[in-house]
């Protein structure tokens, strides 16, 4: 479980985040801040959807809109999005528009159109397989139109390595979300056990299971230098670790 010094470090990081997060970054409390513009991959089970809903709710901030692109083909397999459950994860259904494309081609088109439209705070897409070129297009559209694209990938899907971050979100016993930041352009990665607090609309830390050795100092996580490695649009940036 959690060691006290670790908790202290986290609290320090929280304080830093509260003091002010650079524009363009969404503070996530106990988790590293999320770039508002760009592609984020989230793989996992139902918790991945919940995590995406929570992120989208925070990105929308009660004002913005969210588009959720869920393929018709997966309707039987994965079930339909349920408003009351989305609300419980922090995504107000009144802010949400659902699109149901028939084919992956339509799904990618829908996501790109939505990103280019510049009317959404977040565009969530459930994609089975993502060709690298399509991923790069989405990343480009997300970056140029300052919108977050959240890609929901099935568990153990191969990453495309184009996005800003890659998360793994799975269930853990006791209503806990096991959140792993597997890849991040800024180099920080780690594993957190969190609970979504519906009342305060933030993640409550249950435990942190160790950051990777060699990761930069904690302040570097929340306040990255505004460099190419953070928001640059070049080819995949290797993890610094």
């Amino acid at each position: 479980m959690v060691q006290r010094p670790e908790l202290a470090a986290l609290k320090a990081r929280l304080a830093l985040a509260a003091a002010g997060t650079p524009a363009g970054l969404l503070p996530l409390g106990v988790l590293p801040a999320l770039p508002r513009a760009g592609l984020h991959e989230i793989e996992g089970d139902a918790v991945a959807s919940g995590f995406a809903a929570a992120l989208a709710g925070l990105l929308a901030g009660g004002r913005g809109r969210v588009l959720w692109c869920t393929p018709l083909a997966a309707l039987r397999e994965a079930g339909t999005l349920y408003g009351a459950g989305l609300a419980a994860c922090g995504l107000d259904p009144a802010r949400l528009i659902v699109a149901r494309p028939r084919q992956t081609r339509d799904a990618l088109w829908t996501m790109e159109e939505a990103l280019r439209g510049g009317v959404f705070a977040a565009v969530i897409g459930e994609i089975e397989t993502l060709p690298p070129i399509a991923a790069r297009r989405l990343q480009l559209a997300a970056e140029t139109h300052a919108t977050a694209a959240l890609l929901l990938l099935p568990p153990h899907a191969h990453g495309v390595g184009v996005g800003m971050t890659r998360w793994r979100a799975t269930s853990a016993p006791g209503d806990v979300w096991h959140i792993e930041l597997a890849r991040c352009r800024r180099g920080a990665s780690g594993i957190w056990l969190v609970e979504w607090n519906h009342a305060t609309h933030c993640f409550d830390l249950v435990a942190v299971s160790g950051e990777r050795p060699g990761a930069p100092a904690s302040s570097g996580v929340d306040r990255p230098p505004r460099g190419a490695d953070c928001r640059g649009g070049e080819a995949p940036v290797r993890r610094r670790a």
């Binding site: 339909t80 829908t110 799975t170 209503d175």
Partner: protein, 469 residues
């Protein structure tokens, strides 16, 4: 070649082709007689449905000349040319163009122009090519045989027997006598032909007043040319709409191919628009439907819905093509994915979880609707609850194990039951009237499921209804 039909176990010729007719074969002959005249006769059976379909196709194709076209009987098409013939260089030129184009498609056609459908019908059959001046119509019709009045064969036979061979022979007979002897139908037909009684044509589709039409001297072969023409049609239509402060809720484009087939594509908008860029962009997704094929020689664009649209409203719509306009984006999504596949969610006051939300149009105001609070509800719900096998320690308890999609899950934690009663006023089926006991269970890995037991005792069944995050 002839088309035949069977009646009272005998086969009759319905329609001979030109070659068969030249050999003396006529409609009404028995097939045996016809074969005697031409031994190598090719026979095909007459399919009324096929003929109707072909005629509908021709009527639709004729929309290149006028929006009001209608199949007439089983061998003709009415075109309402009111005010439209000038665009084609006059009625005589239009007739020639029509017959020539149909001939290129392989149809032998006769056509005539008159001021009433009845007279046009008569002239097309018995004096093809005639363009009757209204003043001369009575005189022209007088010389035609009585068949020209669209009468049933029995009436024609009686008239012939009485020596009344031409339409003109009926002019001078007292109306009362005609009606008594031959029925009201004859008088009505006569009046309609002479324009003394009005005969409506019911066109295939509602006549759009706001049509835009282009004919091409050179047929279009490239999809890009079709797109460019469509763009010009849209711009021209929008300019007219602006003058009347109207906007469209949808557009339909017909493309006429040289082979006689018609290409069709339609779009819809979530609110009235006359923004050419926006409308053209919606069509961009549908251009494959307007494939020119071997060549396209005409296009027509017409609105499928018109609404008032004040100038200040267009200021908003114009933003539609720029980033930042939600409605314009939703139109594009709906046009590609289908209107039912772009929606928002709205809560419904129902206890049954599957009824507690519904899909609404994405621009519906749902802000003030309250979602049920305080109850634990799954993130994803299965529209059809999936039957599972569950083991319980006691009949009325939470399950210890369950098997879903062939995977066995061990229940580590369970919350419940939450009893949800049936809505007997909504459910007719007895099974749907049973009360459900819902449990929120967690397996060994922490995955969370929403299960329910339906029915009680030995006959109870278990279902999985949703997944929690």
């Amino acid at each position: 070649m002839v088309l035949i039909a069977e009646e009272a176990k005998r086969q009759f010729v319905v329609a001979p082709d030109a070659l068969a007719a030249a050999n003396g074969i006529a409609p009404g002959q028995t097939l045996v007689d016809a074969r005697a005249l031409a031994g190598d006769l090719v026979v095909a059976s007459f399919e009324p449905a096929v003929v109707t379909r072909a005629l509908d196709g021709i009527a639709q194709w004729c929309m290149r000349y006028t929006p009001a076209t209608a199949p007439a009987g089983d061998d003709g098409v009415f075109l309402d040319l009111t005010g439209g013939a000038l665009l084609f260089g006059g009625e005589t030129a239009l007739l020639a163009d029509l017959v020539a184009r149909l001939a290129r498609q392989g149809f032998t056609a006769q056509a005539a122009v008159a001021s009433t459908p009845g007279a046009a019908w008569a002239l097309a059959r018995f004096a093809p090519g005639t363009v009757a001046r209204p003043a001369a119509e009575r005189a022209v019709l007088a010389g035609l045989p009585v068949e020209a009045l669209r009468l049933v064969p029995e009436t024609v036979a009686i008239l012939r027997r009485l020596g009344l061979d031409t339409v003109g022979a009926l002019y001078d007979l007292p109306r009362a006598v005609l009606a008594r002897r031959f029925g009201e139908e004859l008088c009505r037909r006569l009046d309609r032909a002479l324009g003394q009684a009005f005969e409506p044509i019911s066109p295939l589709r509602e006549v759009p007043l706001w049509r835009e039409r282009r004919d091409f001297a050179e047929t279009l072969l490239q999809p890009e040319d079709v797109a460019a023409t469509l763009r010009r049609l849209i711009e021209s239509l929008c300019a007219r709409l602006a003058a009347e402060e109207l906007g469209v809720r949808g557009l339909e484009c017909l493309g006429f191919r040289t082979d006689g087939s018609t290409a069709r594509a339609g779009i819809g908008t979530s609110r009235p628009s006359r923004d050419p860029a926006h409308l053209a962009r919606l069509f961009a997704e549908k251009l494959s439907l307007l494939d020119p094929g071997d060549g396209m020689d005409g296009m027509v664009l017409s609105p499928t819905g018109l609404e008032n649209l004040a100038p200040e409203q267009t200021a908003l719509t114009r933003g539609g093509t720029q980033p930042g306009d939600l409605a314009a984006l939703l139109d594009r999504l709906a046009n590609r994915l289908g209107t039912t596949n772009v929606f928002a969610l709205a809560p419904v006051g129902s206890h049954r979880p599957e009824r507690a939300q519904r899909r609404v149009a994405p621009n519906t105001a749902t802000r003030n609707l309250r979602w049920p609070d305080g109850m634990r509800r799954p993130l994803r719900l299965f529209a059809n609850p999936e039957a599972i096998e569950a083991e319980t320690a006691a009949p009325e308890e939470a399950p210890l194990h369950f098997t879903w999609r062939r995977v066995r899950h061990c229940v580590h934690r369970a919350e419940g039951p939450e009893r949800i009663a049936a809505e007997w006023w909504r459910d007719a089926a007895p099974a749907a009237r049973e009360t459900r006991d819902y449990y929120r269970v967690e397996n060994e890995d922490g995955e969370r499921f929403w299960l329910y037991r339906q029915g009680a005792g030995e006959t109870s069944r278990w279902y999985l209804h949703g997944l929690f995050a």
